[in-house]
């Protein structure tokens, strides 16, 4: 059978990358597949995609999807800065960053927060396993209190929850999901891509080698048992008709920058994803109930992204030439005379 092509005429294979070198069963691999699915279905243009990452098992994943795209595997914890610079230099690029909990919440915490503050237009995925996989299983700062390390030691420090931090900063798109839940994650990835601004996706992604045992709160079983989905998420791309037939009141619709829509059908909690303070409360409470709140936590489609705020032209800065950039001879001479 011939592969079915997406709206820009590409087969799913066009969104694949190199073969993974991660452990069999690593949550990161599932996320890679969800990314491939989302981009294939959205019809992302490979050559306009810039895959960014730091250092870690998670940060290797950009090599495993959309081979044709450019990728930049930078240094540990500094992907936000590279992404910010790349984005302002060419705002037409689709920036998709993949990081880890160590990369983002330990060494990279400062950059991560300042990127959100600037609302740099990018999708920022944290493959969150509560451990440093690549350095063989030390606790990361997202490890929960009481979580047990493979070597036996117990974490006694409060975790730093990237979603809570993002909400505090008013990040314009905050979501949490689980590597094992493509049904929820794929539409969220699509929405994050459609969103203009920083879209943070904290995806719990178990490390089967170092942090998938009993006592770990980042194991497949723990997450399955404690996953508390706020909504049922449906993404309707701009190039498709919207037809939703739910009884009124049960759903909430969010229009995204590029004309796509999110349809959120409330499940457990009564939750308004545009109410930041309410969401913070909800998040804290679910944590105290020892539950993992997943879904679209918060979204603000009104916040201008960094390039817009910096009043950059639509034409990428990097495409400007001598005429655009040099002072004219007249102005130059005039300026020189002022210095005399």
């Amino acid at each position: 059978m011939s592969a079915t092509l997406n709206r820009i005429g590409l087969a799913r294979d066009a969104y694949k990358g190199a073969a993974t070198t991660l452990c069999a069963g690593c949550g990161h691999n599932s996320i890679t597949n969800h990314l491939i699915k989302a981009m294939y279905e959205l019809g992302v243009e490979p050559h306009m995609l810039a895959k960014m990452s730091g250092i870690g098992c998670s940060s290797k994943t950009p090599a495993y999807f959309v081979d044709q795209a450019h990728g930049f595997n930078g240094v540990h914890g500094r992907m936000p800065a590279l992404t910010t610079g790349a984005q302002v230099a060419n705002r037409k690029l689709l920036m998709v960053g993949v990081s880890g909990d160590g990369d983002t919440v330990s060494i990279g915490l400062g950059q991560f927060m300042h990127m959100m503050r600037r609302n740099v237009d990018c999708t920022y995925i944290i493959e969150d396993n509560g451990t440093y996989g690549l350095t063989k299983g030390q606790f990361s700062a997202t490890a929960d209190v009481g979580s047990v390390q493979k070597r036996g030691s117990v974490n006694t420090y409060q975790p730093i929850d990237p979603c809570a931090v993002a909400l505090t900063l008013g990040c314009s798109f905050v979501a949490r999901s689980f590597s094992g839940d493509g049904k929820q994650l794929v539409p969220l990835i699509k929405a994050a891509i459609a969103h203009r601004g920083t879209a943070v996706l904290d995806v719990i992604s178990p490390c089967v080698t170092f942090n998938d045992h009993d006592g770990s709160t980042k194991s497949y079983s723990w997450v399955k048992d404690h996953d508390e989905q706020i909504q049922d998420v449906t993404f309707i791309p701009f190039f498709e008709e919207i037809h939703v037939d739910y009884e009124p009141g049960t759903i909430k619709e969010v229009a995204l920058h590029d004309g796509s829509h999110l349809v959120l059908k409330k499940l457990s909690e009564d939750h308004d994803p545009t109410d930041r303070i309410g969401t913070m409360r909800l998040l804290e409470e679910s944590r105290e109930r020892n539950q993992l709140l997943t879904g679209l936590l918060y979204i603000d489609e009104t916040a201008p992204d960094f390039s817009t705020r910096e009043r950059l032209p639509e034409l990428p800065l990097r495409d400007l030439g001598e005429e655009d950039l040099r002072i004219t001879r007249e102005d130059f001479a005039q300026h020189m005379s002022e210095l005399a």
């Binding site: 810039a50 240094v75 936000p80 800065l317 990097r318 001598e322």
Partner: protein, 605 residues
């Protein structure tokens, strides 16, 4: 009989309290004198503090237009009680001392002439606006000095209009204040005989302008096509990006849309600043960051990434004296060695060494060309003396050459190559490979950039041979760059057996020192290094001279070391090191004194 006054040959010094507005008073004087056609060389010595600490402004005026720091002042304006005694002691015998009347001169030295002025009283009685009084008090001494040195009052008015170019409202009040001082001079001291006067000149300042190195560098960035600048404030580098912002607002904003053709991002720290610049450089923009010592120490990891992943980026280091926080408002050339091999592992970087504000302007543009050409970080090492002082310079040339964007393959090229290319293949055998930019619409355009091991086709590898091949190519690239960076400036007109080697702002002390040495019957040749890697022509220069003195502003003789490593062993021994490192710009005397001592020590054949 007393000799007549010397003309246009004096060193003026104002000793004041920082944050009191004395800075603009000093600029007015500088502008005024410059407008008389007299060459000026100002040096501002200020504290790492915002208000209330001692600050000095030295204005050197010499017939030959020397720009190096002079020794003791001939004319002192003393307005800081805290330093009054020291300041007074520093004046050259025969000098003139203008001071607040309240300061005691009882039992003070008698070999200088005193001009006590009741500045405080005058300010109270003659300056109406209470809010402006603090600022304007300093304008009083501008008037007094005008009288003392015979500066026409029109020149002062010109200086005021220049200094407050952007706020015409301030003109009259300042002129009035200066006038009060000027009047006070006429009424009290007009008949006093004085040792130094200024007279209008012609020829020496034609087509000359006054500009700070950081502003010149910012202008160079604009003309060099910089579109992304990421920075974190730090003295003495801040004014570079702040000038860039001013230029951007004036020359890079679309009047209709208000759109900006540049992004100047104030980052959260230096790591982020360089990271942003690298991200932008990777995307194909001309990107830079600017910092000083402590920032450089934070940029090691990202610099190594740019070196090894081969991403163009320009890094300005406006050197201040370290180590650590050191003296943030004092100058130095001590980052040279550290920057040259910044980051762990085997790394070597291109480093440009501007010696004049003109070169700050020129090299800023060169730096972007070199970064694109060699796909590497390029450092521009300026210093506080060059960056934050006003310097007299010929007006800058408008760039005639287009940007050199280096080896970039676009979609068309890739089509012609039928997609056959490899990011790190050494196609031209010069160590410089071809790159593509993100967003290039060709299926073969994309590749993976990484700081970890990669082969010729940018694939991840841990293979020993591939690793070594890549490192060898990077070394080859560096050798290619050796002849592409600005060449040394050589002056062997003295046909001497002795040569001097210097770089950066040390140049100005060398110029003066050479004159002094010639007068002492010891003419010397001179080579000025302008970039790393070191040009092979330096070897010739050393071969042509029996003894070569390497002069620099750091403790450890960093350039002396780099030179010895490049020279053939039999020549390395000809080098001698002369170092100045107290945070103040090197004066000519710090060259002549040790050099003459060392020369005397030379055994006669």
């Amino acid at each position: 009989m007393t000799p007549g006054p010397t003309i246009n040959d004096l060193t003026f010094q104002a000793a004041t309290v920082n944050g009191s507005g004395s800075q603009s008073a000093n600029l007015v004087l500088t502008r005024a004198i410059f407008s008389m056609g007299i060459p000026v060389a100002p040096k501002n010595v200020f504290p790492s503090n915002i208000e209330g600490l001692p600050t000095w402004y030295q204005l050197r005026i010499s017939p030959r237009g020397y720009q190096a720091r002079a020794g003791e002042p001939d004319v002192l304006v003393a307005l800081n009680p805290a330093t009054w005694t020291k300041d007074l002691a520093s004046v050259r015998p025969g000098g003139a001392v203008v001071h607040e009347q309240a300061y005691s001169t009882a039992g003070a030295r008698s070999d200088v002439s005193y001009f006590p002025v009741p500045f405080a009283k005058l300010a109270k009685s003659r300056i109406q606006s209470d809010t402006l009084r603090k600022q304007l008090t300093n304008m009083l001494y501008v008037g007094v000095v005008a009288g003392l040195l015979g500066i026409p009052f029109e020149a002062i008015e010109h200086g005021i209009r220049r200094t407050f170019q952007s706020k015409p409202k301030a003109w009259q009040v300042n002129i009035d204040a200066a006038c009060v001082g000027y009047q006070h001079w006429q009424d009290n001291f007009a008949d006093r005989g004085i040792a130094h006067v200024l007279r209008p000149m012609t020829g020496l300042t034609d087509d000359r302008v006054l500009i700070e190195g950081n502003q010149a560098a910012a202008l160079g960035c604009v003309m060099g096509g910089c579109t992304v600048a990421a920075w974190y404030p730090i003295t003495p580098s801040s004014s570079l990006c702040e000038n860039l912002i001013t230029y951007a607002e004036r020359f890079r904003v679309d009047p209709e849309t208000g759109e900006k053709k540049i992004a100047v991002v104030q980052a959260e720290d230096e790591l982020a600043a360089l990271g942003m610049a690298i991200g932008a450089g990777w995307t194909g923009a001309r990107a830079m960051t600017s910092t000083s010592g402590p920032g450089i120490s934070l940029m090691g990891e990202f610099t190594g990434l740019a070196y090894y992943a081969e991403v163009p980026v320009v890094i300005f280091d406006i050197q201040r004296i370290g180590p650590s926080t050191g003296l943030p408002t004092r100058t130095s050339q001590a980052d040279l060695g550290f920057v040259y091999t910044l980051s762990h592992g085997d790394t070597k970087h291109l480093v440009l060494l501007p010696g004049t504000v003109e070169e700050c302007y020129e090299f800023a543009q060169t730096a972007f060309d070199l970064a694109d050409r060699f796909q590497a970080p390029v450092f521009v090492l300026s210093d506080l003396d060059l960056g934050m002082n006003l310097w007299m310079t010929p007006t800058f040339q408008y760039p005639e050459r287009p940007f050199d964007r280096g080896k970039v393959l676009d979609a068309g090229d890739l089509a012609r190559l039928e997609g056959q290319w490899g990011r790190y293949r050494d196609v031209d055998q010069d160590g410089v490979a071809y790159r593509t930019l993100p967003g290039t619409d060709h299926p073969a355009a994309g590749y993976f950039t990484r700081g970890s091991g990669h082969d010729e086709d940018a694939r991840y590898t841990e293979e020993a041979e591939a690793y070594a091949r890549n490192m060898d190519r990077l070394a080859r690239k560096f050798e290619t760059a050796r002849s592409a960076v600005p060449a040394p400036v050589v002056d062997e007109s003295a046909h001497s057996t002795i040569g001097l080697i210097a770089f950066g702002t040390t140049h100005h002390a060398v110029v003066e020192a050479r004159d002094l040495l010639s007068e002492r019957g010891l003419p010397v040749d001179y080579l000025r290094v302008r970039a790393l890697p070191l040009s092979s022509s330096i070897t010739e220069f050393v071969r042509d001279h029996e003894r070569v003195y390497v002069i620099e502003q750091n403790r450890d003789g960093q350039m002396y070391d780099l030179l010895r490593l490049e020279l053939p062993a039999e020549l390395a021994g000809r080098l001698r090191s002369i170092r100045h490192y107290d945070g103040r710009p090197i004066p000519a005397e710090s060259i002549t004194r040790p050099l003459l001592e060392l020369e005397e020590a030379v055994p006669v054949q």
